[in-house]
Symmetry: C6
Subunit: 268 residues, 6 copies
């Protein structure tokens, strides 16, 4: 166990993150209390980037796990592997994080099966430990360890939601798309286009976000705007770039496509 | 088997627990008769803390298992692992508890599949033994061994409930949130804020608990109140702290959020 | 295989069992014909105790298996385990019972999957053998071997019932709660309280049993009455003892709880 | 493979079988053509006994497999097992039967999953071989090999039925309960009671069989009549014996029990 | 891999096949283009026999796989087996066929899970290769390799059908029962009866085929007619033979049985 | 890991691909930005061929994975295999692609389970890495690595669709059947027939494509037209060739078959 390379989990360089509200201060206070934190918000609005930024700011290692419905508790906690000398225990990412004092980020935790969410319980209350039941060991969490989860309330259905006994173990931070001004800044910076182009892309996104729930499941994410900007930067004409990066990924419904194409044509 | 470290399962220091009714005496009498005990009550009202307190009071080791629907009987009882000399039996947490005379606490047992609940049957009647069928051994429980389970009746559905043949093996203790006075004391003590702040947080919680069944699945737990207090103690303004620790984790419904925000604004 | 410890399966001391009807004679005749026997009756009325008593009376070893829906045929019959010399066959409890001539008691067999119930078929007709298909061996049952199953007709649903081709391999013995007089005797003896207390507890139980199907899935079992008596014996006041041992385990419905509490208050 | 003990599969002594119609001649002709045969009929009417009788008559080994919905194709065909020298192939019962020229009897084949039934296809047409796909070997069936399956049409539901492409590979023999005269003879012979007792038991059975589809899933099988006779032979009074062996196993419905008890009381 | 015995997959002697339409020429042209071929038609009409005949005619090895819903991609492609020297790759039947240049016949492919059908995609277009993803090898198909699948459109339901992206990789040949004249010839030849008997059996079959969709799932197959003829050849009277081989396998519905029995009695 | 044969994944010769719109330029710009790309379009319209063409044009290795609903995350990422020296990690195709800088093409990704789609997330944003959680290694993607997925919007149902959080990680290129002129060119070139024949086949295809959603799930693909041309080239008369290659694979509905046959007869 002594051979875990803690440094590989450090965020190497400052991630580009543009604070929006109080989120940096609130997170810092929560981290000081080692309070588990839940990040809520729509797809591609910057939750993952924010955790990376905070890990970099705090100088703590970050271990990210993309949750999914086929993930088992062993995928988080660890398992025995067969070795030349018989079975050898292999720590899972959650156990590694608890040992080295990393921030453990469970992305889209609502996708995971119940055994995943239940497994984190003892790490999220006064016990701050992780029983490796199969190994007969109780791992006491490193003082730096903290757990962060994300989920997208838009996906919440009657079938898939966190249990109250899980939810009530977290402080919650709400995320949303940045303001037009900030988003323009991000798209120009990340997509390497000048500000007028970025502004137009953001305005197209706003139109699409107003259609959420009226034919679209989600509006265009900041990430897609950056994609469109990048294509334009490579010499693609703005209409084709927008069609490829903004309209195509979002929907296959012909009427909705016409509506979005019209929005694109308004600005370009 | 002789190398189980019994001491690692002892509760190291007195857990902070504030008795509410007769629960300490009733539990003690049940333990003297080695009667299996079932703790019922809502999320975050202190069931886990109570078992830790009783284990500390009685000076017995405590082994806690967070049950979940993907847990198998082998996760409780044990399994054969492959070793350099072939397969070796590895006791599960229930078996360890039966051998060393621990209190075995199965948290949220109703989440477990039937093989879990059925496996404990012979340990909960006059037999007090655990057949390790795969190993061909019958473990006679240590005289100190006792089994405790918890569950949250609010979750009980037609689909998921304990069978009567399991329920009728336990004495039952009902838990609920503490009285306002006691809860204020707990929040002030655990959250390290002064009494007036704690009082206000408790009053907000009471408002939310009245909304249970009227738009909320559960009211705010004592744990969340402590979180809010901790954030306030780190210098966060009370409204932001309450929004992060009390409102955000509970619900994503906009109307319900407005109602809870209004309750927060009434007191802060 | 020669190293199975037959003696560990013998019932060590005479179990306390109070015969109710003809059940002892009927079972003895069935055992003489080695007829498979099915015990039917509600939770906690003494089916398990009866089998132990008969095994003790007949001086035969008893192997009990708590059936559940996650149990596989291999859990009953046996499997290959990996050893230092390759794979080694490990008999399951049914195979052990067939070899050493034990009474094999499959508790709540209706919970098991079909492969369990089908596996016992050749042991329950004129063949009296158990093909270990994975091993290529046919185990001829020891002359003393007999199979006994239990199930609770109250649980029977359209989804879960024994197939007729299984049912028609068994003689059936019906069990029910003992008469008031006998049950009082049992509660006084097992719970170590005097007769008037035991009588009152039995009367409370009768009230609850009349509510079966009218808001309760089952009435209070004899086992719960013994629990209540034990708590009273430890100095708990009768009302609290009854609430913990009789009312709490049975139901969480507030109206039904009031009704049962009223019954308790009538007698104590 | 040369070490399969063919003799252990021979039926040791002539099974007691009382022919009813043409079934012995028809089976013999089918066997001569090595035509696969399907035995249809209700529970406990003698299908298994008939196959044993025919195997004994023809002097061929018999391998019986009780099918169930959790049985895999490997359970029939074989699998690789880990040995001290690596993996070793272990023939399943169907493969053994194909190699040694046994009659392979798949009891209640409709319970099996599709991979079972599909696996037998090449053994049931002009190919008469069994590809061991995992081993890369094609087993040519021994000239004596024949396949026989049984199923109970009463169980047939929309969910569980043999596919037409399976059914149309078999000749079919219908079985039913024997005539009153023959059944009396069987009960007297097997149950070791005199003819008048046997006659009464058969008449009770006839009453129950008329209730099939009118509250009963199946009528009383010949096997249950033999059980009742055996209990009477052990000194149990006829009414108690009938209740234990005939009524109890059949139904838990109180009205139906009354009806059947009345039938018993009419004769005893 | 060099030790695959290609010859064991050659069809040893000319299968009896009576061409009906253009199917032999069409198949030969498709094989010359190495076009994947799909054989459609009802149960027992000769699809399997046709592939064997074509493989014999073309002098190519034939590997047949009976598909089923429990078959995994590994069952087709291969897997690692544990050997004395660690794991060793074992080719599955599809891989063997691709390596040695066999015709690979996937019988009733619609029964297979999606991973089976998807696995064959790269073998059915211009790529003509099979990526063994677990082994990191891409098998280029032998120039002689061709893939053939069969399915019975009568079974097609909304739940189980080939995806268009699979279907559109195959040329399709439709099969049906042969004309009365040809079928009579087949029954007489295979069943070893004279022509008048065969003619009557074919006429009974025609009656049953008209009932398809009017109480019968399928009409009598040519195979069943051959069975009936064989029984008659063994001395069984025609009515009993027809009942065992034609009526019994088809249906358990009493009315439908009467109808079919009447058809039998019309001719015999 | 150093022994991965990168060259085996290079496309050996220029694939025949006939550009239709801007797709080559758009893909090239997306590749320069290493933007993940999603190809949408009906069955058999050339998506796979296009990726091969682009990989050849860009001189990058191509690793194709046919996704299916039984594929696990380990099938993509890799797993531990048992070796003579214990377990050895085996990279999956996605990991190989990330290491050697290949274009990884996930064909019909919508068929995969969520763990597949979630596993690619960190490779599709600014992180461009792949955590091998079971191995405790984070693979940084090679600078040349790009991910491409395909899916057929026609299959999209409520049950099976990509999550928005996956969709919004890709630029999208729409594919459709080529124009009549281009398709004629392709069919003549690939099917080796002269232009008038190819033209007629394309016209038949157009008729079928107009029936999509009016009785047909999909129209005839270009691939099927090539098949028909090849059969004609082998001397099969055009009507039979069209029936085998165009009509048969598409539908079993008798009315729809008549309609399509009529279309065939119009042109041949």
């Amino acid at each position: 166990m002594q051979d875990i390379d803690r440094d590989q989990y450090l965020v190497k360089s400052e991630p580009y993150y543009r604070p929006v509200h109080q989120e940096v201060d609130l997170y810092r206070a929560a981290y000081e209390a080692r309070m588990p934190v839940m990040l809520k918000g729509p797809t591609g609005c910057g939750k993952t980037r924010f955790v990376e930024y905070m890990a970099w700011t705090l100088g703590k290692p970050l271990i990210t796990v993309a949750c999914n419905e086929d993930m088992t508790a062993s995928d988080l906690v660890g398992r025995f592997l067969l070795d030349i000398n018989g079975t050898k225990w292999q720590d899972g990412p959650l156990t590694v994080a608890a040992r080295i004092g990393a921030i453990c980020y469970l992305d889209e935790v609502v996708e995971a099966r119940q055994d995943t969410t239940v497994v984190i319980h003892p790490l999220t209350d006064h016990r701050r430990n992780l029983p490796l039941e199969k190994k007969g060991e109780i791992v006491e969490a490193h003082p730096d360890f903290q757990i962060v989860i994300s989920y997208n309330p838009g996906y919440q259905s009657l079938m898939k939601d966190l249990k109250q006994s899980t939810k009530q173990r977290f402080g919650a931070l709400d995320f949303d798309y940045p303001t037009a001004e900030i988003e323009t800044e991000i798209v120009a910076h990340e997509g390497k286009v000048d500000k007028p182009i970025a502004e137009k892309l953001v305005q197209i996104a706003h139109r699409s976000r107003n259609l959420k729930g009226h034919g679209l499941d989600e509006g265009m994410s900041t990430r897609l705007l950056v994609y469109a900007a990048q294509l334009i930067g490579k010499g693609i004409d703005p209409q084709s770039a927008a069609r490829m990066a903004l309209v195509g990924p979002l929907t296959d419904d012909p009427d909705m496509r016409d509506t979005l194409d019209a929005a694109v044509n308004t600005y370009f």
